[in-house]
Symmetry: C2
Subunit: 217 residues, 2 copies
Amino acid sequence: MVKVKIMKAISERNDEVAREIRENLKNLKITSINLISSPGSGKTTLIERTISLMKGKINFGVITGDLFTPLDAERVEKAGAIAFQLNTEGSCHLTAPMVKSALNEIQLSGINLLFIENVGNLVCPSVWDIGENYRVVILSVTEGSDKVEKYKTAFYGAGAVVISKIDLLEHCDFSLEKVKADLSAINPRASVFFLSAKTGQGMDSWCGYIERIACAS
Amino acid sequence: MVKVKIMKAISERNDEVAREIRENLKNLKITSINLISSPGSGKTTLIERTISLMKGKINFGVITGDLFTPLDAERVEKAGAIAFQLNTEGSCHLTAPMVKSALNEIQLSGINLLFIENVGNLVCPSVWDIGENYRVVILSVTEGSDKVEKYKTAFYGAGAVVISKIDLLEHCDFSLEKVKADLSAINPRASVFFLSAKTGQGMDSWCGYIERIACAS
């Protein structure tokens, strides 16, 4: 009973801070995206490519979550965004209080869209509200088309799902039809994008989505 | 303080059960492997291929961990092993008590090697002893060569590391040299295998390892 109570207290405190973050970002007219995927599905590469393609149109801020290293923030900063690295020191997901502490360190005025790149993990980040407006889940074609069915908690609340690395589609046993069918059973309202941040294929449609949600706030 | 105490109690109880499992498997002359990776790195495919290549030489038992579905156990059973599916109902890693409950359901006599396929997650399973003799971590070339550095906790205690999907190497920005360098800094004693369970390339060497550790018990 004690354990349940403590976990509930942690979770309630998290959700309270998440609401506070959402309110503050709304006042600043900043749209925020919580980017969730397995390690190596292409979160950082998608952010880099989006920033370079939309430079001058949208001002980006990026909070990158990682266990120990500063590697992702360095990459994103090079691409031209304001970036802040959050290291969880081994913890498996970001929390709202972590994101709040990062926001205190960033010059927010002028930013239109904030990417929050979660720790590479398709399980734990799914159940933590970190104050985002939209949750975007990335699944690369190299991971196999059973992943929506197997990791459904991640896909339930996604505003958008990105099927990434489609330049590798012809080399993988991946059925777009199965993924589409599983998604429409679990979360039929999610926008779905098929793209390769490496070759640029499908990036137009994704950037259109980013522009729409950034301007809506 | 209360939270710390409870977590310590859970962890101590886990480690106690893990020791008990190891002792029981030792008495039965069964070698056990805890297979850890991100979702979609190829754990199940590697198990399937290993079983078909070593049929008649080694008798395999497999416990497959997954959040909700029975998909992996069904695949492994088809390949010719005794399989048991453990569903964690959303929890992000296996624990020793879960494995113990699965072992109570399996006919163990005659098995030489037990694969325990953990939940697809490169973070949380790393810090839980589930009674294994060897920890094997799989990293696919499609995930990128920064992953040993970024998810070092998973690679610290690995007896072996499998670099999988090398049939896709030419299509990916993946540096085997970087991964080797990072591994030798973090865990120089780990055996390293480069293979494709799909094409069969490199499977000889991996099967040799499996045979050696199975016969050693």
